[in-house]
Subunit: 208 residues, 2 copies
DNA sequence: GTCTATATTAGGATAGAC
DNA sequence: GTCTATCCTAATATAGAC
């Protein structure tokens, strides 16, 4: 069974965005990539912005699903690591968003508030997880330290992938989310109980 | 005495780049801003890329000056805080670079290797400082923790300003470097001796 | 050095046939 | 749904007078 042209456009666009950056991708390039005419592309989407918008929506759905951690959940360190893994896989899949964030948000103002909302939810998820670890006695941290830590986790989750790929801008198609997870675990480590601290360290080692 | 047109172009460009993002700044906008004709602008610079290149060079000079920390220097926590302050002031001054980093580097390939070189030097500066603190017994940290910390400091120094201004994309002209310094101190805090840890905390408080 | 006018392109988008 | 051909606009850049 054949994939609908509409979806082929979206898939090809996402791949191109991630690979060479959204601003460098023209509608002609997209249509060329999947061997359709530019006119055909505009039959399915009324503008390039609409393509970006729809891809953003996919990302939004995936992420909202992921960060909906119940306030009172009891989370183990392993679950936390798994969560981070899922998160980074999603971010890698949509990394073009973060690589030219300011530019993209400035040209699609409708996305601004939604992006910020996602960011808040993500930070909130980190807070929920840390609070759970704290309740269990796994994590020892003051309130002000927790604030800084959650912000730091949030920032790092946004930019790790971009930062990492700075070292190899030439080949932007291969990104390893594992090292990002490792880095995040390292941020939390100092506040963990000795036992879990070593556990976190060991988890990170998986990725080398 | 009058400022040379050439410099007025550079100053106005930098201001506009920071304010609305380099990709959104046209040569017409720049010339308009300082009330000269677009033709005049092209008398002084043969392309917009040249303007970006020259501004980058200024940044490069400032930063190289800043990160040239002698290997064997003995650095106090206060000096470290001062260093961070200088660093963030420079980054804020040239924040447009970081806000659309991938885009800018992809369109000016000559800048790529130079930017990465700066990044390495910066990370090296953090390493030198941490090693100094370690020698003095102020900081206790393992080698692998140090690796992760320096990367984290480097990443945060790049993206803090962008991340912070995400919350107020509308008003991109006012940025407070102090909160970035605070965040960086927080990254180091867990590895500091109790005394210096509190000192670091106190330093951060200055900025609220 | 500075201006005005204009060339050049490239990219987004539409019209109308098939 | 898909194509070809074309329009429109905005941005970079140049030519030539002053």
């Amino acid at each position: 069974m054949k994939i609908k042209t509409r979806d082929r456009i979206l898939d090809a666009s996402l791949a191109l965005f991630n690979s060479i950056g959204e601003p460098n991708v023209t509608t002609l390039l997209i249509s060329d990539e999947i061997d359709i005419s530019p006119g055909n592309l505009y039959y399915h989407f009324k503008s390039k912005g609409d393509i970006v918008g729809e891809i953003f929506e996919r990302y939004e759905v995936e992420l909202l699903e992921l960060v909906s951690v119940p306030e009172d959940a009891e989370i183990s360190l392993e679950q936390q690591s798994f969560f981070l893994h899922m998160l980074f896989e999603a971010i890698v899949r949509y990394r073009f968003l973060y690589q030219d964030l300011v530019n993209i948000l400035s040209r699609h103002d409708r996305l601004q508030s939604r992006f910020r909302k996602l960011l808040r939810k993500k930070e909130q998820a980190f807070r929920t997880i840390c609070n759970s670890l704290r309740r269990q006695g796994i994590m020892t941290i003051t309130d002000s330290e927790l604030d800084a830590l959650c912000q730091q986790l949030s920032l790092t989750s946004c930019y790790w992938v971009s930062y990492d790929s700075l070292s190899h801008l030439d080949n932007r198609d291969s990104v390893d989310p594992g090292r990002g997870v490792f880095q995040m675990m390292h941020l939390m480590a100092p506040y963990l109980r000795e036992e879990e601290r070593q556990q976190a360290e060991a988890m990170g080692m998986d990725y080398f």
